[in-house]
């Protein structure tokens, strides 16, 4: 506290040389202390003022101090004088016009406006003219208006400025007081009058015609100011009120433009202003600069123009850089009216071109840009490129590159020059180059100029030049340049008949292999390669290309290479898809994608889910996340599976076969591939500002109708004069003559306000202008650059179809190999599931390389980490544990390695016993039934017969005859079962008949309970495959299962348990979500998506079969409940 009250320097600024890190620490500390202090109620207003100054300081250094904003408003409210002023100051520094706290200020301002203390009124007006909430203007407007009549000059002046701000904020609210502005203009005090000029400048800009009557007033005021009628304290370095003069000159310029009568009123005073500017001071030059602009804007008067031109000479010839710069700026403005002025100063301009200060060089180039014509374009462009090579500033590079490209397009003297200049533009511009430059260039090449022969020459020249560039090794070209090159080579290589397409392919292929090319560029190069294959029958390079990119990690390149493969195989498609020299023709695209209708209908017929648009999917996801589940919990397993499957499904969208839906889906896909390829191209329409600027400047270059003779005459005279000068001088003169060629001296016509703009040689331009707004045009060009999109889905389908079986069979092979060496896992389920992970990972890797040899596959599985998960509800009992071991059967060796249940007695009497054992094989449930003859005599003609219900299906016959079973012997039979209709539990019934010796036939019934879980097998998928499969499955069921655990491992634990109990396969766990896959034998897959959130496990099941999800969910529920 004490410290703050003192005027002692604030601690944080003690050492101005402190390092940044220290600064940050110190300021943070200071801010914390300030935060505490401002919120302490005992802090006095004086201390608060000090605090706010410090907060201003902190914000100035870039540390936000928003906690102090409200205190600034409070201080403005409660403080007096200096405190109040600092409060207002802080508010104006902290807040912007839209800040909500600003409303709190309105009352304070109102109060202070009514204060009797003039200083308070002053402050209120100052802050109101800095920022004020626009909708609160009516509240203070009458008070401010009233102040226009105040006796004090300063109050009237500030009131005018406040009204000016209100006018900026809400022009129609101050409409009614325009009369009062006039009064302010005629105020007896020059300060008030000067303040009103701000408003008039705005008003006149918007409506020059409405204020012509004021011209004479402005002229009179200017006359008085220039004549030194103002008080001495308005002088600045003995120049009377220079900023006021400047303001008046600007207003006169607006009034006199294109208006002879008004202009005539101001000739005198302009003349006087030009004359007065003899004192050699910066401020007089500032006034002169405005004078020159005004003289050249209003209706011309020859005498004045000459004087202004002479003045301009003073600027340009000045040794002071500031003046030189301003002179060049004025000249760029003036040449729009009069080219001659440039000719007068050509030698100075040449010198400025080599000026050490880059900003002067820049301004000179700007000037040259405006005087470019077909004769001097080469020299000027060369100068610009020289500058570009030295400049590193991105902003300057972008703007200058655009100008060069524009000039090259407009005035190119020859094809060679044009292509070489554009090459330079692309090299120099590098990756900063705006996308519209390459796009315009390519469009220009593609569209041509209505002259077939010349077009071909230009294209051929481009091809030649790029081939030459590509031959140079180890040169790094910018991405956009590479894209341009590859497009041109792809499209127009056919023009170069002596070159072999395969050689070009070879060099492009080499380029593709370079890591320096971006993915986007690679796509361009690849499409060029594809196009080049239409020119040649020699496909020697093809396998290499396909091998390199057929399984590229980048899906775009992979797709391209599959397309290439297909296209090369079928020349006919190639020619329809990529016709020669057709890049400008529009491609007719069936946007409704009606040709896919059949495909969609088929898919829907096969049970595929109808397409859901992205937003709908998103909604579903959201609803899954946020919406409360209002449906009753409880078991979702219903007795009637058909019904439950319908009710359980979330939003079954009506099946729709119309093409609208299918169109949506494919369109989304198209967009993706679109953006991949045409990334850069699209940006043309994104940077409007730049485009507009470019357009403007294009048109600013006013054409000058010049006669050849004039020019030659002009330069012969120049040449004569130059004789006898030094060599260096000669060189400069030479440059001058090449730069200023074509700037005729007969331009006085244009001074009369009529610009001869139409004679401009819009040689190349016309095309561009014409096409500029035609979005479709660009799009069509772009479409041609990329392979036609409509073809992609079809092609891809074929490719996928042809390669899927291949992968599948490999995978099958893998499983076989693996299972051959598999062991029966006996304990440690956790480790086991880890192994499951490994195996799935291995599988994934191998699938990615389908060509891997079989040896390597079996090698990978040599350690036998292929898993068959053992059901937890039964122990892997061995035969030895069986109570009546003497009679108990032994499980055949071939099954012992599979997981199996313990033996169960299914049926017994004094003579025989039937034991069963379930063996969970991968492809079926194997029921092994042991028939034991307990009697002492042999059994004959025994038959075991299974009666199958609809749900089950056996692989072979269900009757097993045993002609003879000896006493105390055991025979076995086995039955392979698969579940055809999912159900939780099914009874396998059957009977056994036998004869004891010759006695009568005896029959025993038996029944075996089979469960859904007996038929569930893990389905090994990669995440990617899971994703694909998920989309293709239509029957889904969602359920929230409460699960009392909120440990982070909860999801993993739950999924592991499911894996153990239900033999599911965990595909992936990402964060709070896990995906699990399984299949119901024989081949119905079911996918689970589990999400754990706040003690709730949301399970979402999908399957091709409508009943399976319900049944499986029931099983899951049981398992989870047990946890």
């Amino acid at each position: 506290m004490q410290q703050i009250q003192d005027q002692a320097p604030p601690s944080m600024v003690k050492d101005s040389r402190m390092v940044e890190a220290d600064e940050e620490k110190l300021i943070k500390k200071e801010l914390a202390a300030l935060k505490e202090q401002v919120s302490t109620p005992t802090t006095s207003l004086k201390q608060m003022r000090e605090c706010l100054v410090r907060l201003i300081y902190c914000e100035m250094l870039g540390y936000e101090a928003s906690f102090g904003y409200i205190h600034a408003i409070k201080l403005a409210q409660q403080g007096s004088l200096m405190e109040k002023r600092v409060g207002y100051l802080a508010v104006s520094l902290f807040l912007n016009e839209s800040h909500e706290l600003l409303l709190l200020l309105v009352n304070t301002v109102l109060k202070d406006l009514q204060s009797t203390n003039l200083l308070e009124v002053c402050m209120a007006l100052t802050v109101a003219s800095q920022l004020f909430p626009p909708d609160m203007i009516p509240a203070v407007l009458p008070l401010v208006e009233e102040k226009l009549q105040h006796s004090k000059e300063i109050i009237r002046r500030k009131a005018v400025l406040a009204l000016y701000k209100f006018y900026l904020l809400a022009p129609n609210q101050v409409q009614h007081i325009h009369d009062k502005f006039r009064k302010a203009l005629c105020d007896r005090d020059p300060g008030v009058m000067a303040a009103s000029l701000h408003i008039y400048l705005l008003l006149i800009k918007e409506n020059p015609g409405g204020y012509k009557d004021l011209t004479s007033s402005f002229v009179t005021i200017l006359k008085q100011v220039v004549g030194g009628k103002l008080a001495v304290d308005f002088n600045y370095h003995s120049v009377p009120a220079p900023w006021l003069q400047i303001q008046l000159l600007r207003i006169l310029r607006l009034l006199g433009k294109d208006d002879q009568i008004t202009s005539e009123l101001m000739y005198d005073i302009l003349d006087e202003s030009l004359r007065r500017a003899e004192i050699n001071h910066n401020i007089t030059y500032a006034i002169l600069f405005e004078c020159i602009q005004t003289v050249y804007t209003i209706h011309p008067k020859v005498d004045l123009l000459e004087k202004a031109a002479k003045c301009n000479g003073k600027f340009i010839l000045s040794p002071k850089n500031n003046l030189k710069y301003l002179g060049l700026k004025a000249l760029s403005y003036v040449i729009q009216q009069d080219m001659n002025l440039v000719l007068q100063h050509q030698m100075t301009i040449i010198e400025c071109l080599d000026h050490p200060d880059p900003i002067i060089k820049r301004e000179t180039l700007e000037l040259l840009y405006r005087i470019t014509n077909a004769q001097n374009v080469a020299v000027i462009v060369q100068k610009m490129l020289d500058y570009l090579r030295q400049s590193k500033d991105e902003y300057i590079t972008i703007s200058l590159v655009g100008k060069v490209a524009e000039l090259a397009e407009k005035y190119a003297p020859t094809n060679e020059w044009f292509i070489q200049t554009m090459n330079a533009v692309f090299s120099v511009g590098g990756d900063m180059i705006p996308a519209d430059i390459p796009n315009n260039f390519l469009r220009l090449l593609a569209e041509g100029f209505d002259d077939e022969v010349e077009d071909k020459q230009l294209r051929l020249y481009a091809v030649n030049s790029y081939l030459a560039l590509l031959e140079k090794n180890n040169i790094h070209y910018p991405q956009r340049f590479l894209q341009v090159m590859s497009w041109v080579l792809g499209e127009y290589s056919y023009l170069k008949t002596e070159a072999k397409a395969e050689d070009i392919i070879q060099s492009l292929h080499y380029l593709l292999g370079k890591c320096s090319a971006s993915l986007e560029t690679k796509a361009w190069i690849f499409s060029a390669i594809t196009k080049l294959f239409r020119l040649t029958l020699n496909v020697k390079v093809l396998p290499e290309v396909l091998q390199n990119y057929g399984n590229s990690m980048d899906s775009c390149l992979r797709q391209c290479s599959f397309e290439l493969k297909q296209l090369v195989e079928d020349k006919e498609i190639m020619n329809t898809v990529l016709p020669l020299d057709e890049s400008c023709n529009d491609i007719v695209v069936d946007a409704s994608l009606s040709f896919l209708d059949g495909f969609v209908a088929d898919a829907l017929g096969h049970g595929a889910a109808p397409y859901k648009p992205h937003h709908q999917r998103q909604e579903e996801r959201l609803s899954q996340e946020k919406v409360l589940n209002f449906e009753p919990y409880g078991l979702s397993f219903a007795t009637s599976p058909q019904i439950s499957s319908v009710t359980g499904r979330q939003s079954p969208t009506g099946l729709s076969f119309n093409s609208e839906i299918s169109c949506n889906s494919t369109e989304a896909g198209l967009k993706d591939s679109d953006s991949l390829k045409l990334d850069g191209v699209k940006k043309v329409w994104g940077k409007e500002g730049y485009l507009r600027k470019k357009k403007e400047s294009k048109e600013e270059t006013v054409a000058s109708p010049n006669s050849e003779s004039d020019v030659t005459a002009d330069f012969t005279s120049t040449a004569e004069k130059t004789a006898g000068l030094s060599a260096e001088e000669q060189e400069k003169k030479l440059l001058a003559s090449s730069l200023f060629v074509g700037l005729g001296s007969n331009n006085l016509v244009s001074l009369m306000g009529k610009n001869q703009s139409t004679t401009q040689k819009f040689r190349r331009k016309s095309k561009i202008v014409e096409g500029q707004n035609s979005y479709e045009r660009t799009m069509s060009t772009q479409k041609a650059i990329a392979p036609p999109l409509a073809q992609i889905p079809n092609l891809m389908d074929n490719v996928l179809e042809s390669c899927n079986p291949f992968q599948e069979s490999k995978a099958m092979l893998l499983r076989k190999t693996a299972s051959d060496s598999a062991e029966v896992p006996t304990e440690e389920p956790a480790q086991e599931s880890d192994e499951a992970w490994n195996s799935s990972n291995n599988l994934k890797t191998i699938r990615a390389v389908p060509s891997a040899s079989k040896e390597s596959i079996s090698g990978l599985f040599a350690d036998g980490n292929f898993d068959i998960v053992q059901p937890g509800n039964c122990n892997s009992a061995l035969v030895a544990h069986e109570p009546n071991s003497s009679l108990s059967p032994g499980l055949p060796v071939e099954f012992a390695e599979h997981s199996h249940s313990k033996f169960e007695l299914v049926c017994a009497n004094e003579n025989i016993a039937l034991f069963s054992c379930k063996v969970w094989k991968e492809d079926c449930l194997l029921i092994v039934l042991f028939f034991t003859n307990r009697s002492s005599i042999e059994v004959t003609n025994a038959t075991v017969n299974f009666a199958l219900t609809d749900e089950l299906q056996a692989c072979e016959s269900t009757d097993f005859p045993f002609p003879l079973v000896e006493s105390l012997a055991t025979v076995k039979c086995q039955l392979c079962l698969q579940m055809m209709k999912p159900c939780a539990r099914v009874l396998l019934t059957g009977h056994v008949t036998y004869h004891l010796e010759t006695s009568q036939q005896t029959q025993e019934e038996f029944a075996l309970a089979l469960f859904l879980t007996d038929f569930i097998r893990p389905l090994k998928l990669t995440t990617e495959e899971f994703g694909h499969l998920w989309l293709s499955l239509s029957n889904d069921v969602k359920q929230n299962l409460s699960f009392t655990s909120d440990s982070p491992e909860a999801l993993t634990v739950a999924l592991r348990t499911l894996q153990q109990e239900l033999k599911l396969h965990i595909v992936d766990i990402i964060g709070a979500e896990g995906i699990v896959a399984c299949q119901l034998l024989p081949s119905t897959s079911c996918l689970l998506h589990c999400r754990f959130h706040a003690g709730i496990l949301s399970v979402w099941l999908r399957s091709g079969c409508c009943v399976l999800p319900d049944c499986l969910l029931y099983e899951c529920q049981k398992v989870i409940q047990k946890l």
């Binding site: 005027q7 101005s16 004088l81 100051l89 701000k165 220079p242 850089n321 700026k329």
Partner: protein, 188 residues
């Protein structure tokens, strides 16, 4: 028809040019010491705090290394920077393309003269009492230090001169009237 379009656009271009000409705005006003630290900043267009800091770093990089004989105007993106050095103090003003660079350059000097006029008459600690502090090369750190310790007063002076990016008062005695009155009232 093409010609009509062309003319139409030409007219449009003219109005754009004129409107930007009338804008002639001062975008910001900075005081920087020789070490490149900001000593005062005032923005006349809304800008976020962190963007300001980045901008300032760039501006300082662009202006400070320049030599005396180089042009006092620097291009920075679409902003023109006008700067002027007074011993240890740099004044940098950002303007748009239509503003008169030289007039702004002299405005800086006017501002400094006002500061000079104010602070040389106000009672200052002994060390800081000089007749013309801003042109005194010997005391390198004086001017930035005075601004530091009187941040609020310098702001008040600036507010009298520039409002909403426009020059509203250049008369030195009139600029100081409100501040001197405040000082007088506070003292009594």
């Amino acid at each position: 028809k093409k010609f009509e379009k062309y003319c139409e656009r030409k007219i449009k271009r003219n109005t754009i040019y004129l409107s930007s000409e009338v804008t002639n705005m001062i975008k910001f006003f900075l005081l920087v010491n020789k070490q490149g630290q900001i000593r005062l900043s005032r923005y006349y267009e809304p800008m976020e705090i962190h963007k300001r800091t980045l901008l300032e770093v760039d501006i300082i990089k662009n202006c400070l290394p320049r030599t005396k004989d180089q042009c006092s105007f620097v291009e920075y993106k679409d902003i023109k920077l006008v700067y002027r050095q007074y011993a240890a103090l740099f004044v940098v003003i950002g303007i748009d393309d239509a503003e008169n660079e030289l007039a702004v350059y002299e405005l800086i000097h006017n501002f400094v003269e006002v500061l000079d006029k104010y602070f040389s008459r106000v009672v200052l600690p002994d060390v800081l009492r000089f007749s013309n502090i801003f042109s005194l090369v010997t005391v390198q750190t004086t001017a930035p230090a005075i601004i530091m310790f009187n941040l609020d007063k310098v702001h008040i002076i600036l507010d009298e001169m520039i409002l909403n990016g426009r020059v509203v008062e250049t008369n030195k005695s009139r600029i100081l009237v409100p501040l001197l009155a405040l000082d007088k009232m506070t003292e009594s």
